[in-house]
């Protein structure tokens, strides 16, 4: 018997994440310097971890409200208001989720009818397109370009738009490009969303890690709060990836719809993670800012080195990723990444893992120590020079 004949068609056809293939190769090698991670190199600040230990000691081992602990929702409400100037009611406009990944998934499940069209910019986080496929939606990628420093432009949106498009997913600052939009660009996107009656799902997980200018949330613009679901979490800014904790904020009717899916699938986020998240919001700002400043300085170093090596590499305005153009090597991004790994044991991720138009680029995460960044950049330089002499 072939058990695979039981698997649903749309799952069978779903491609494995390109990052997964690469991970298998890297996992088997020793002494690799990895710029391939998608998370902070810092452990969660101790005071946050300690809050979870304390909660455990106090017997906080039960289910919470489906929406999440009210103390956490109140803290989220205050934080989002203070930091990003958007006001949400803790009672019915905020839902605590198992990371932004779950928030995005239940948003799609709550909003997308089979065949509904969902726009998102590409290169992008690996899960957007598959998550849309899983709810039988139609994915409409909108390209972003190196010439715009990977900001999403209203022109590109207009060019990709198709009649019947319903949702627009934003991820600014963006994994993998580090691109983001300034206020004028966000305003143009908002105007387009209103014109085409799109609901916006805004994944702003990297918003605290904005190095140039001020992060503008699309939900903070006049008239946009009612057509935006704002998604945020703790993984990146507070170095809490493994806790799997995030949240969705939006109009009460939409949060209620997402809550229905959430209560039947997840019930609630882990209470320990929720307790830790409260601590992060109330007392985590100093540690967060210190981490951001360190990413900022590491970014300046690695981007300068990439340009010295001969890659064209924009200064990413946010996130902890650089997205250099490696086509100068004469190799495809995938061949370059594989040859670099084999020759010099440095792992970077081929840009095509984040969408076809990541072709020619690689993602390098600079959330790692200076020693590793210096050594990795020297090895990459050596490899690029050796490729040049062979040609």
């Amino acid at each position: 018997m072939d058990p695979s004949r039981y698997i649903a068609k749309h799952v069978i056809n779903l491609p494995k994440s390109g990052i997964r293939d690469f991970f298998e190769v890297v996992a088997k090698m020793k002494d690799v310097i990895s710029l391939g991670i998608g998370e902070p190199d810092f452990d969660t600040p101790w005071h946050i971890r300690e809050a979870a230990i304390y909660a455990l000691e106090k017997g906080k081992t039960h289910y919470t409200s489906n929406l999440g602990l009210i103390e956490l929702r109140r803290a989220i409400s205050k934080y989002v208001e203070k930091t990003f100037s958007i006001g949400y009611r803790p009672e019915d406009e905020i839902l605590v989720t198992v990371g932004v990944s779950e928030a995005l998934d239940i948003a799609f499940r709550a909003l997308v009818n089979p065949g509904d069209k969902v726009m998102f910019h590409q290169p992008c986080y690996v899960s957007y397109s598959p998550s849309i496929t899983l709810v039988h939606g139609t994915a409409i990628p909108v390209p972003t370009y190196a010439k715009d420093n990977f900001a999403l432009t209203a022109e590109a949106l207009r060019a990709a738009w198709q009649p019947g498009a319903k949702l627009l997913v934003l991820n600014l600052p963006c994994n993998p490009t580090g691109g983001t939009c300034d206020r004028a660009q966000i305003e143009a996107i908002a105007k387009f969303a209103v014109e085409k009656d799109l609901l916006v799902l805004s994944d702003e997980i990297y918003s605290e890690l904005t190095f140039e200018g001020v992060h503008t949330s699309i939900a903070s613009l006049p008239g946009m709060k009612e057509r935006t679901i704002y998604l945020h979490g703790f993984s990146k800014a507070f170095a809490m990836t493994g806790w799997r904790i995030g949240y969705a904020c939006g109009p009460a009717a939409l949060i209620e719809a997402m809550m229905k899916v959430h209560q039947y699938s997840m019930m609630c986020a882990s209470i320990l993670s929720q307790e830790a998240a409260i601590e992060a919001l109330l007392r985590g700002e100093d540690a967060m800012k210190s981490m951001r400043d360190q990413y900022h300085r590491r970014r300046d170093f690695i981007v300068r080195r990439f340009n010295e090596i001969g890659f064209k590499c924009n200064l990413p305005r946010g996130s902890f990723y650089a997205f250099p153009d490696v086509s100068v090597t004469g190799l495809s991004e995938k061949d370059f990444a594989v040859s670099l790994l084999q020759a010099e044991k440095v792992a970077i991720v081929p840009g095509t893992a984040f969408g076809a138009n990541g072709s020619g680029f690689c993602r390098a995460c600079f959330a790692t120590s200076y020693e590793q960044l210096i050594e990795a950049s020297n090895r990459i330089e050596r490899h690029v020079q050796s490729l040049a002499t062979k040609r």
């Binding site: 994440s17 890297v26 990836t241 170093f301 991720v349 960044l373």
Partner: protein
């Protein structure tokens, strides 16, 4: 804060060549800046942070609360500096509260430290009293946990 100071604090034990690479300066310029910091007494020196508990010739460490008489003109400084100059003294701080100086002392044996306190420290004119606390065990030194290993190895090497 100067970029080079930030990097010294963040970067651990980077060589001057590595500092130069990160700061986008020549190595000569980095060395010049380090010299300048030394001259300004901002950069006092580099020392390894070691856990000597496993070494045979262990080190005995003590913290001593010292009450002293302040002097007209110099306050506590003259006596504090005089005490600080002993090789046995690792660090010395002027404190608010029930005593004046907190002195960190080390020696090769309990007797040697005790002798230092009674013969050298307590006998200085102006020292009113001392209270010595011997350290039994160290858990964290200069930001490093002593017996907790880094769990770096558990992390994924590639992640989305």
């Amino acid at each position: 804060m100067k970029p080079i100071i930030k990097l010294l604090l963040e970067g651990g034990s980077l060589s001057s060549a590595q500092l130069a690479q990160v700061l986008n300066l020549s190595e000569a310029e980095v060395n010049r800046q380090l010299e300048e910091l030394r001259a300004q007494r901002v950069l006092l020196g580099f020392r390894p942070v070691l856990n000597l508990a496993q070494e045979d010739s262990g080190v005995v460490r003590a913290v001593i609360e010292v009450r002293i008489t302040p002097e007209r003109g110099g306050g506590f400084n003259r006596l504090a500096e005089r005490i600080s100059r002993f090789d046995e003294v690792e660090s010395c701080f002027l404190m608010s509260g029930g005593y004046d100086l907190l002195v960190f002392v080390n020696g090769s044996s309990l007797q040697k430290v005790a002798a230092f306190v009674s013969e050298k420290l307590a006998s200085i004119e102006g020292v009113l009293s001392t209270a010595t606390h011997f350290m039994l065990r160290s858990y964290k030194e200069q930001g490093f946990m002593l017996d907790v290993k880094s769990e770096e190895a558990d992390r994924l090497k590639v992640a989305p």
